[in-house]
Amino acid sequence: MTEPVAVIGVGMHPWGKWGRNFVGYGLTAARAALDDAGVAWSDIDFVVGGETVRNGYGGYVAGSTMARALGWNGARVATCYAACASGSAAIEAARTRILAGLCDLALVVGADTTPKGFLAPNAGERWDDPDWLRFRLIGATNPAFFGMYARRRMDLYGADPADFAMVKVKNARHGLHNPNARYRGEVTAEEVAASPVVCDPLRLLDICATSDGAAAVVLSSIDTARRLGRGDVRIRAVSTVTPRFPNTALDLPDIATDSAASVAAPDQGFRPSIASAAYEEAGVGPDDLSLAEVYDLSTALELDWYEDIGLCAPGEAEKLLHAGDTTLGGRIPVNPSGGLACFGEAVPAQAIAQVCEVTWQLRGQAGARQVEGAQVGLTINQGLFGHGSCVILSR
């Protein structure tokens, strides 16, 4: 087991389609997290940003962009890019620096402004960029990959689009009272079924939107947290693992998998291996979880995550859903925040937002969406090009 670090402050800028500069959102989230921690910006000695690739140079150097916005204070700085896993990579940079004794108080910020519609690759003729090529040669958008994963659940496990709609209904209900969520309204199964198909079998309401938003956390050593009287919530593990060769599940944005012609595929696929590494580091297992925040880029993908984090065996996720186990009040509520279904994705902020939610849950500050007596929470996610992202927190 690894020594924990403390989450002493969390803050967010509400998700939406505000159309403003991402720096302003980040500043709001950072100041909220500093206030929550009760520490001054001048005391932060490491600031790390989750990079955004759609907001020019300021986004490429998000850490220093945030430091400048807060007012240069001489802190050490870093910026992390790991696609959708950028937030947890940034958290990991802060955690490891704290555990190494190289920093006392770290601020982690992720903020994004997203374009309307499908996320598209960067402009230009980029014949050596697999992300560009999958659009140019095939027209394979992100939802096309989500559609293929959903279709496998149907053809292999007998899942039905009505099961996927039920995930949306659940998450919409969870997010009703979340002040940071973009969509706060009940959604019925009939409304999901009546929304247009985007990538068969998934409909518009099965797929998460892209959003503007920002999230921030302040981390410290346990000793520093105790001194500040804020040692309640601890990060027990961060898993940023890569796949093991050969990775035989088709992952975004690749046109092909690894070949398993000469080396057999590992017993455990990439997604389950992300959670396994975190469980091992934290010294806990799926049965210890009080809640989980999983990356529901699509409704069907949330069901994949149930299995990948060990809540049930492959093919059993629909049963867990129908039994109400993953609904607030159930055995292991999943996405009590409302998930991406209610937020939409703000790439470099999303994994940090997951950690904010688990922190509020563990503190008992989640209001109408509170998981009673929450003790241990897990966040999980996966970034393009082989980035694992899993954080385990406990009281």
Binding site: F118, E125, R126, F135, M148, R151, D200
Partner: protein, 140 residues
Amino acid sequence: MTEAAPVIDGWFTTDSQPALIGRRCPECGTYQFPPTGEWCPNPACLSAVMVDTPLSRRGRVWSYTDAQYKPPPPFVAATEPFEPFAIAAVELRPENIVILGQVASGYGVADLHVGAEVELVIEPIDGSRALVWKWRPCGD
């Protein structure tokens, strides 16, 4: 009029029995697609040589979907107004690799299921003369 040519060089042949061109490691036998790798991706193999090789022309569907909305650029639609098309990820043996492609025109998700046999064909990628590989259901 210029002759129809692949939209990208070296990824597939366009003869009467077209095939994707992958690479194979002469030391450990690992395959790779697209054929751009200059070293073996197997971490237990240190080979710095990968040899172009045609891949199996038939495979079985790993999964499939379609695009009901026009993808953003650099995608170029074959027709205006946009007509939906299907996409399949296909598992090839003995290469043990899954490769994505559009489904041949005239076929949709109703013609597919996980495990269905498909065959590689070459078709125009858009309204131009450029060609790309697609997967055509064998109708098993």
